[in-house]
Amino acid sequence: MGKDEKRMAEWAANFSDLFYKCFIREDRYKLLLSGIGVTIKVSLLAIVIGILIGMVIATCNLSKKKLLRFIGGVYTDVIRGTPSVTQLMIIYFVIFATVPLDKWIIAAIAFGVNSGAYVSEIVRAGILSIDKGQTEAGRSLGLSAFQTMSRIVVPQAVKNIFPALCNEFIVLIKETAIVGYVGLMDIQKAGDFIKSATFIAFMPLIGTAVIYYVLIKILTLALRQVEIRLRKADAR
């Protein structure tokens, strides 16, 4: 055996030993699997909450009423001006301190509240991107402001803002890696836990990164398919 081959064999043995210690021994992979479940649960609910809040705040920001614009402005300003960890901890330990809800739901609310501020700006930009003539045409036919918005403006805006929304979803999923701060065992926390238990840093952290990367890759590919379908309608 040559020198290089020997080194390689050593490295491989070392790697598989680390892999075994970190993921197989004591069924540690199960921690990561349940962590993936937590990350997905929290992210999905947060995305839904974020879209709902985003639409409400965008409506406020576009409103003719000064008070609504003020509320929308303050919301966006405060959320953008503070770190999401701080927001998460305030919502968990202060606002929902005495509310008997599952931990993961409270965390999802926190991330939804955060995402809503960014979604609202995306939605607002999307609505403003639709020509004023579209609204005028709808209103001149006798449609109400709401009917014009929901049947004419929003369907066109969605297509324009879809890539920006996808981007926001991806940021949100990665953002949830801080839920360990309120005691939830997501992917990041599971990897961290393994690191502490085994005193091995390399394998659990790289494993965590790979899992996030694969999750987001799958989501990106799925969303791309949706976008292609949306664009197809244009070509007709």
Partner: protein, 254 residues
């Protein structure tokens, strides 16, 4: 006074009554006191230099612009009253825009049937049947399933007219309907409008097509600096203008 106005209106079958209409944008006076009666079946063509306020006048009629001062009555209803149901008022008035403003995400048929179905004027089936009739009328019967992006400018504008007609309006407003068209497509749109005029529709048309005005208008309004400078039959306004500004304008465009 108010009653006398009303009786007078009924006698002449006035559909739109405008009194002392003012419109300001910030500090700029765009309309500075317009008084006008438009009777049923009239085809009123509004001409004037750009920036004269003629488009703003038209847009005030269906409240796309909020009126700063003055009153507008449609069918004896004060539509400038803040309490009035704007959506119901607008259903009586079809509007055709310079930029067509078709809904690009909907088929031609859906463009036409959206409002009548949504506002519960017709069932979907009735609306589609009526839509097809209207498309035939503007010579686009075969385009029902096309999308706006597949049509030429002239075709788009004819669809826009059909879309407005689908609400069975009493009045049709046209805001420079041929100004965004290539020259060879102007004729097909004007033909549809002539046909509409012959059918007795009350129409108010802002346009630069003087030939069309001469041929179709029952009355021509010359607006400049936010007021009606001259009003009369096409023969009077084009043949024997009284106002200096009218003469000046016509010498440039004719």
């Amino acid at each position: 006074m108010e009653d006398r106005w009303k009786n007078h209106a009924d006698m002449e079958n006035v559909m739109i009554k405008v009194r002392n209409l003012h419109k300001k944008f910030e500090d700029l006076d765009v309309l500075s006191g317009i008084d006008e009666h438009i009777t049923q079946g009239e085809v009123v063509v509004v001409i004037g230099p750009s920036g004269s306020g003629k488009s703003t006048f038209l847009r005030c009629l269906n409240l796309l612009e909020t009126v700063t001062e003055g009153e507008i009555y449609v069918d004896d209803e004060l539509i400038t009253d803040p309490k009035v149901n704007v959506n119901r008022v607008r259903q009586k008035m079809g509007m055709v825009f310079q930029q067509f403003n078709l809904f690009p995400h909907l088929t031609i048929m859906d463009n036409i049937t959206l409002a009548p179905v949504l506002l519960k004027k017709m069932t979907k089936e009735e609306a589609v049947k009526r839509g097809q009739e209207l498309l035939e009328r503007v010579n686009l019967g075969e385009k029902a399933n096309a999308y706006p992006a597949q049509l030429s400018g002239g075709q788009k504008q004819r669809v826009a007219i059909a879309r407005a007609l689908a609400m069975d309006p009493e009045i049709m407003l046209f805001d420079e309907p041929t100004s965004a068209l290539d020259p060879e497509m102007v004729g097909e749109v004007l033909d549809v409008m002539k046909d509409l005029a012959r059918s007795g529709m009350t129409m108010v048309i802002v346009t630069h097509e003087m030939g069309f005005a001469k041929e179709v208008a029952s009355r021509v309004l010359f607006i400049d600096q936010g007021v009606v400078m001259e009003s009369g039959t096409p023969e009077e306004v084009f043949g024997n203008p009284q106002n200096e500004r009218t003469k000046n304008f016509l010498s440039k465009v004719l």
